[in-house]
């Protein structure tokens, strides 16, 4: 009995259920000895013959899996599509929701905008990793449970023609784009029109920095809308520009509602009250959520196929 054969057989047996172990042990040994003997009779050296026979038997883990009918994959073809669908559905809902909640909580507890966005992204990442890990673990267990049949997961795997997804349209609605351009122009003109009026609730410095930046952002959105009209469909460049614009608006509102735009003296004793602080933060959270949603829609739009409008 050579050492190398002992090691091979022991490795195979270590991952075979105990009830079958002694039987596999005897049979595998006999089979190896038979073949080695046959090779030695044909003039090979004993150790060399043993090496060849064991090498040809291959990875002991694979042989053990074949002996005990264990799958050599994590999730097989029976459950793969169900796994993919469940994971997609969960990933579409849970991480974005967790991210939004984390974002709002960060803003309400007084974190600045960048810190809050990073906190939201971290929550998205952590929940996504958890969703993937636990879904995969669940399906891997189902794959290995002998009594699981595809019928048990039928609600997840059911398929019919009604379930075919709609073909998404990545074209802009021209009416919508023109409407937004008119709205931007109106706001722009209104702001310019009242530039000589004194508003007691605005910070006197607002006209030097805050308002010009807002006008710049509005001009940027107007140009973006023009490009949308001209190009007609979403592209990665457009979606990126749209995301940057949304970030700009979110940052501007964070800065403005942070107390830099308003004349706090005007609000008297309300200025330092909890009520004002909380309502300002809730407003900011809603604005940030809308900006993120709008930026996200742009990237979703890129994925659609190019088809004629309406």
């Amino acid at each position: 009995m050579s050492e190398i054969k002992e090691r091979y057989v022991a490795t195979v047996l270590s991952s075979i259920p105990e009830s079958r172990r002694s039987d596999v042990d005897r049979e595998l040994r006999a089979a190896i000895e038979d073949e080695v003997e046959a090779r030695v009779e044909q003039g090979e050296e004993q150790p060399a013959a043993e090496t060849i026979v064991l090498t040809n038997l291959g990875d002991p883990a694979r042989l053990a899996a074949d002996y005990s009918d264990r799958p050599l994959y994590l999730i097989g073809p029976r459950f793969y599509l169900a796994w993919l669908r469940v994971m997609r559905k969960l990933l579409a809902v849970i991480p974005p929701l967790a991210g939004m909640v984390a974002l709002v909580v960060h803003l309400l507890t007084g974190e600045d905008l960048v810190g809050s966005i990073l906190g939201g992204l971290w929550a998205v990442f952590i929940t996504a990793v958890n969703v993937v890990a636990w879904t995969t673990l669940g399906f891997a267990v189902a794959e290995r449970a002998a009594e699981t049949s595809p019928a048990d997961l039928e609600p997840l795997t059911r398929w019919s023609l009604d379930r075919l997804p709609r073909v998404p349209d990545r074209h802009f609605n021209p009416g919508e784009v023109i409407g937004s351009m008119v709205a931007i122009a109106v706001v722009f003109v209104l702001i310019l029109g009242v530039r000589n009026v004194t508003f007691p609730f605005l910070d006197p410095d607002a006209w030097n920095v805050g308002i010009p930046v807002l006008l710049g952002l509005l001009a940027f959105s107007f140009i973006l809308a023009l490009v949308k009209l001209r190009v007609g469909t979403w592209s990665y460049a457009l979606a990126t520009a749209n995301a940057i614009l949304n970030f700009g608006f979110a940052a501007w509102w964070a800065w403005a509602l942070g107390g830099s735009l308003l004349n706090l003296d005007y609000f008297g004793y309300w200025a330092g009250s909890n009520w004002l602080t909380v309502s300002v933060r809730i407003t900011l959270a809603i604005i940030v959520a809308i900006c993120i949603w709008d930026a996200y829609k742009g990237f979703v739009g890129v994925g659609g196929p190019e088809i004629g409008p309406g």
Partner: protein
């Protein structure tokens, strides 16, 4: 020029199902793993040891072959033998095999109607 790797894969797929049938037919005379390997090889159905040994156990669990330890040989060996169910299954598979073979004949070049 035929891609040899592709050909090897296609051949393997074509033969995969035949190994079970050949085993069931061959084991109407009881035999042990290594000897069966030699019989298959000399019959032109080359099979790897690490495929055949687990396959024999699977067939045993499915009730198509039965096994018995024989200790008269120089070393104890596990002999497998096709059961009555196994023979019946082999007969049915053999019918299918002939039917497939006939169907393929039908498509042979020069023979098309």
């Amino acid at each position: 020029m035929v891609d040899q790797d592709l050909l090897a894969t296609l051949r393997q797929e074509l033969r995969r199902g035949s190994v079970v049938l050949v085993c069931l037919l061959a084991l109407r005379d009881p035999n042990y793993g290594y000897a069966l390997l030699g019989i298959l090889e000399s019959a032109g159905v080359e099979t790897d040891a690490n495929t055949l040994y687990p396959l024999l156990r699977r067939l045993e669990r499915q009730g198509l072959v039965s096994s018995e330890w024989v200790t008269d040989d120089p070393r104890p060996r596990k002999y497998y033998r096709t059961t009555d169910t196994g023979s019946e299954v082999a007969g049915l598979l053999l019918d299918d095999w002939s039917a497939i073979s006939k169907s393929i004949e039908h498509f042979k070049p020069g023979d098309r109607k």
